[in-house]
């Protein structure tokens, strides 16, 4: 697996883990059911225990315990990576993340770092039901001392692909704790190469930090001035790209899409510039609506642009449990058609 060509988000993340384990003996991967031939529930860790048996630790079903243990390992110089099998189970690790790992650097007055990366798949549309389908990352956004990342399915200019590079850098190149938000359906997506994006102009903002967690802006080449900016991350960014394409070709509504890979701390410069041109903003996320990521993005944009922000919309999951039944689940989570419908209402 690790030596086969990188085609999908899953391949890219797997290769990123492989490279981090190969390059840095401080890296240790902990999690449930990681050993080959199983290689983790979603196979992101497949092949790793065969090649790096000393750096992969399969654990009991003890999410809080292994996350807390990773915190202790990081304080003593290692760079542990924790795989939490389903994003829903991040509730079990919240005390370890918020009161321990994210606190150590500040509460010990900068004398220590706690470079833990916690990887986990969020998201629904697989029929897993109420407790295995949620997107709970919003509960971890805004925790001081914690970075929250979500990859985008671009290939980019790195041999690992953009998702793998983001994960590699999070593991090896930063001392800050990271919650790395993956998505079950995103795993299967092909990485978009230049040839796939030939219709689009793609701008990248690597931010001002040494650690690169880029923000991307995509727009259709030679399109008329955009009337709306879509912003999203993770799997929703893929759906938003699809929606942007259909809006252009089916409705002659032209948008720009800003994709975030760093959800916290926020990096919205590129978004502010895009919205200052278009005037309207639609945020799209798979988590539930109330107090969501999009609410903060809208608030920041309004504060920065003032009357330059003329209209806002938000799309998110309906409030309530995510049903197993496919039709009910689809009605609960925002899809491409929902993005198109809302965009049409707004312009």
């Amino acid at each position: 697996m690790s030596r086969s060509p990188v085609k999908t988000v899953l391949d890219s993340l797997n290769r990123g883990l492989y490279q981090a384990l190969a390059d840095d003996p401080r890296v240790v991967l902990l999690g449930e059911d990681l050993l080959d031939p199983y290689g983790g529930a979603f196979k992101v860790s497949r092949g790793l225990s065969t090649v790096f048996p000393d750096q992969i630790l399969t654990t009991p079903i003890s999410e809080a315990g292994i996350t807390g243990i990773a915190g202790g390992m990081a304080l003593r110089g290692l760079h542990p990576v924790v795989e939490i099998m389903f994003g829903d189970f991040t509730t079990l690790i919240s005390d370890q993340v918020i009161n321990h790992i994210a606190k150590f650097h500040g509460m010990y007055h900068g004398k220590v770092t706690a470079p833990v990366v916690i990887r986990t798949p969020m998201g629904g549309r697989r029929g897993y039901g109420p407790t295995h389908s949620q997107s709970l990352e919003k509960f971890f956004l805004g925790v001081p001392g914690l970075m929250v990342l979500a990859p985008f399915n671009l290939f980019g200019d790195h041999p690992l692909g953009a998702p793998g590079r983001l994960l590699y850098d999070a593991i090896v190149k930063t001392e800050m704790p990271v919650l790395f938000v993956e998505n079950k359906l995103q795993y299967l997506l092909s990485l978009l190469k230049d040839v796939d994006l030939s219709e689009y102009e793609v701008l990248t903002d690597d931010g001002k930090d040494a650690f690169s967690s880029p923000c991307y802006l995509l727009r259709i080449k030679s399109a008329p001035k955009a009337r709306l900016v879509l912003t999203a991350y993770g799997y929703m960014a893929h759906l938003a790209l699809d929606a942007m394409h259909r809006l252009a070709y089916e409705e002659e509504i032209f948008c720009e899409l800003v994709v975030q890979t760093r959800l916290a701390p926020l990096n919205l410069e590129m978004l502010f510039e895009a919205v200052s041109r278009a005037g309207s903003l639609l945020t799209v996320e798979e988590g539930t609506f109330s107090m969501g990521w999009g609410a903060e993005v809208v608030a920041r944009t309004a504060v920065t642009l003032g009357t330059g922000l003329k209209q806002v919309g938000r799309l998110a999951a309906k409030e309530g449990v995510i049903p197993v039944a496919p039709e009910l689940e689809a009605a609960c989570l925002p899809g491409t058609d929902d993005i198109i419908a809302r965009a049409k209402e707004m312009v």
Partner: protein
């Protein structure tokens, strides 16, 4: 004789620190609150006297005694409690969140056991030869993560000594209202060899702790030590709901300072007391004089 005097000095330094701290709290120079080690001094000294330079200590909210027994500077701790930049953690951590050299404490119950386990795993992986001592209280037995970690500590044979300071009361809740079943069997069920002591006498704690630490070191394997002890002070400052007669009786029977003092000739006792009183007073005054927002 000389050893007894030295041990008494180590115990009395903690006692004096905590006494001055509580006394000065009334003047308003310390923000927040504090949890003192009154009555539990012999646990700290009895265990930590055996550590080597590279060993790691993880402590909890009641950490002053552990910090001082580890070798921490009383002036830096006073300054930390005053919220001064010259404090151990620049006044950010305060009473419960201390880090100096290989000493770490934190205030959320249970998580420190995970921290300690992770550190022991790290030391084992890098083959440093260092061991970890993790302190916890009986109240912490209510936290689920403790059992997750006891399991992994044993499963992965981590070089750690868990010291359970069983003072029989968690804040205001007595053990009888909080703990079912056997405490020692909790550890033994996970396959962690465990010793139990019911004493406040440093001379009883010292050899048992030494033996267990040696075993952890030689076998790279976990051990646990349960010390039934007595909290002679309040949980924090003024929140002792126990019957005054009960507390008075503990002072009579379970005061580690009095137990060890009885072994010293009067002159040696007086020498230690006056030297330590002067040292702690100087530490307090220097901490107070240091620059800080509360000047």
């Amino acid at each position: 004789m000389a050893a007894n005097k030295e041990l008494f000095k180590k115990l009395y330094r903690i006692r004096r620190f905590e006494t001055v701290l509580l006394d000065q709290f009334k003047t308003g120079i310390f923000p927040g609150t504090t949890h003192t080690s009154l009555g539990q001094e012999a646990n700290a000294v009895g265990v930590l006297s055996h550590l080597r330079k590279d060993d790691v200590v993880v402590s909890n909210h009641r950490c002053h005694g552990h910090f001082l027994a580890y070798g921490g500077d009383p002036q830096a701790l006073f300054a930390e409690l005053m919220g001064k930049p010259s404090g151990v953690c620049g006044g950010v951590g305060g009473s419960q969140h201390i880090h100096w050299r290989n000493f770490y404490s934190s205030g959320v119950q249970g998580g420190t056991v995970a921290m300690a386990a992770g550190m022991a795993l790290a030391e084992k992986r890098i083959k440093s030869g260092a061991i970890v001592v993790g302190f916890m209280g009986d109240g912490t037995l209510g936290e689920g993560i403790v059992y997750e970690c006891l399991n992994m500590i044993s499963l992965w044979q981590l070089p750690i000594l868990i010291v359970l300071e069983h003072n029989q009361i968690a804040q205001t809740t007595p053990t009888s209202l909080a703990i079912a079943g056997s405490v020692i069997k909790r550890f033994e069920a996970f396959g962690i060899p465990t010793e139990e002591l019911d004493t406040s006498d440093i001379l009883e704690i010292l050899p048992v702790a030494g033996k267990l630490i040696e075993q952890v070191r030689l076998e790279t394997a976990p051990r646990a030590l349960i010390i039934t002890t007595a909290r002679l002070g309040a949980h924090s400052k003024g929140d002792d709901t126990r019957c005054p007669n009960e507390v008075e009786s503990l002072w009579q029977l379970r005061d580690p300072i009095a137990i060890q003092a009885a072994r010293l000739p009067e002159m040696a006792f007086n020498q230690v007391v006056s030297a330590v009183d002067a040292e702690i007073q100087r530490a307090f005054e220097e901490a107070l004089a240091a620059k800080g927002s509360l000047q």
